[in-house]
């Protein structure tokens, strides 16, 4: 009973926050409500038992995307929302309502079904090399999907990079921000390394750890501790591409010398998974950092 109450409150909150973020009179209010929506979504994931997803949603969805939106807002010089025209609202309703009805009708019988996948993953956990079923699925059973995910992230970043303007700003960071970022950055590095290591046994993983490291780097860059980060600096380029490169090399080696594409040799699963996760975490951290604070320059006044 309490569970039903809690879940319905969270669901209602999600809808209210989403509506607030979309229809807020100021863009700044919309961004703030979007960040709150991301945090509530993370809560919803925890309620459904997907703690890895909750970590990723809180860090990437609420944290980094919020920072990205605020930086974009500062560059756009527009404070107010353009209220949607009636024609837009009607056409949106005409498309979304049948889709929603279709989705609910198709998904409704699926409540009773149970998937055989969790039992399968649990049964083969010993052979996978790790003890967290989510990491085992992501990095061993469906490692091909994770490889494609990393490639998609790389492609998205390359696409965004074409559109990123080099923005110059003359802001001087406050000493408080400087001191706080210097205190917070080592904690974030420790937390990131811990999360990528713990991903084998408990909720964690490369994406979450990479996003934490990116958050630390973004903070340091905003406090002007780090120099301007640009795609033209070759260490950053190496880091961004390293994730996909290492994973593809591993896949090619297993296909050529081993049993099959991404079929890890016996006994080598855990070291390979850990190595791929660490490189992927660094790669994701660099990609996200460049997405949020790349190509910026400050003119010291």
């Amino acid at each position: 009973m309490i569970d039903l109450f809690l879940d319905s409150v969270i669901a209602l909150l999600l809808i209210v926050l989403a509506a607030g973020a979309l229809f807020s009179p100021t863009l700044f209010g919309g961004v703030t409500l979007f960040v709150a929506f991301g945090v509530t979504m993370a809560l919803a994931w925890v309620r459904m038992g997907a703690v890895d997803l909750a970590l990723a949603e809180a860090i990437i969805g609420a944290g980094l995307t919020g920072a990205l939106l605020l930086i974009a807002l500062r560059q756009s010089r527009r404070g107010g929302m353009v209220p949607p025209r009636k024609v837009h609202l009607l056409s949106a309703a005409a498309i979304m309502l049948p889709l929603a009805a279709l989705l609910i009708l198709t998904a409704w019988p699926a409540r009773e079904l149970s998937s055989p996948l969790p039992a399968l993953a649990q049964a083969n956990l010993d052979a996978s090399g790790v003890t967290n079923p989510v990491t085992a699925t992501l990095m061993n059973f469906r490692a091909w999907d994770t490889l494609l995910e990393l490639a998609v992230l790389l492609l998205a970043f390359l696409g965004v990079k074409q559109l990123l303007p080099t923005h110059k700003h003359t802001l001087q960071p406050w000493p408080l921000l400087l001191a706080w970022s210097l205190h917070l950055a080592p904690l974030l590095v420790i937390a990131g390394c811990y999360i990528v290591w713990r991903g084998s046994d408990a909720p964690g993983g490369a994406f979450q750890a990479g996003a934490l490291l990116a958050a630390g780097a973004v903070m340091l860059r905003l406090a002007l501790v780090l120099p301007p980060l640009r795609w033209s600096q070759w260490p950053l380029r190496v880091l961004v591409v390293a994730g996909v490169l290492v994973f593809i090399t591993l896949a090619a080696l297993t296909a050529w010398l081993g049993e099959g594409w991404l079929d890890y040799p016996n006994g080598w699963s855990k070291p390979l998974i850990v190595m791929v996760e660490m490189v992927a975490a660094l790669s994701i951290a660099t990609t996200l950092t460049l997405l949020v604070v790349g190509e910026g320059e400050e003119i010291r006044s």
Binding site: T26, R74, Q75, R77, R78, G79, W174, L176
Partner: protein, 135 residues
């Protein structure tokens, strides 16, 4: 002993809920950005402390309790720093949309830090000619 701690954690949780509720009430009703920041930061930090205490009473081992204490300390430091940064930002951008009590919601938030314009907010910065009703 365990049952006693569990029973003790309930009033502590109610207390923490009370602090969170008053913090949110202050966020909604106070007239000014700085007052709202004050309410939210102080009340929410205390509420979080009581919640961490309640969870520590229900925890199984000492490692969890120390972790909860560390979480509270980090949230307190982060809240205090963020509150300061936001307050300084709102002091530098006096006439903007988020600085009034929900009334005129126009304004360009991308305005560079211009000299302080005292338009509608009740906050008086430490200027010479004003009476000292700021904290």
């Amino acid at each position: 002993m365990n049952e006693l701690l569990m029973l003790l954690s309930w009033p502590v949780m109610v207390l923490s809920l009370f602090f969170f509720a008053t913090g949110s009430l202050g966020l909604l009703r106070f007239p000014d950005a700085v007052c709202r920041l004050h309410a939210v930061t102080k009340a929410d930090t205390v509420g979080l402390g009581f919640l961490a205490l309640a969870m520590a009473l229900r925890a199984d081992d000492w490692q969890a309790r120390i972790l909860l204490l560390a979480v509270w300390l980090l949230a307190m430091a982060s809240g205090a720093t963020t509150c300061q940064l936001l307050a300084r930002y709102s002091r530098d951008h006096q006439g903007d949309s988020f600085n009034s009590s929900g009334g005129n919601s126009s304004g360009d938030i991308a305005v560079k830090s211009t000299p302080v314009k005292n338009t509608s907010s009740k906050l008086t910065p430490a200027k010479k000619g004003t009476n000292g009703n700021d904290d």
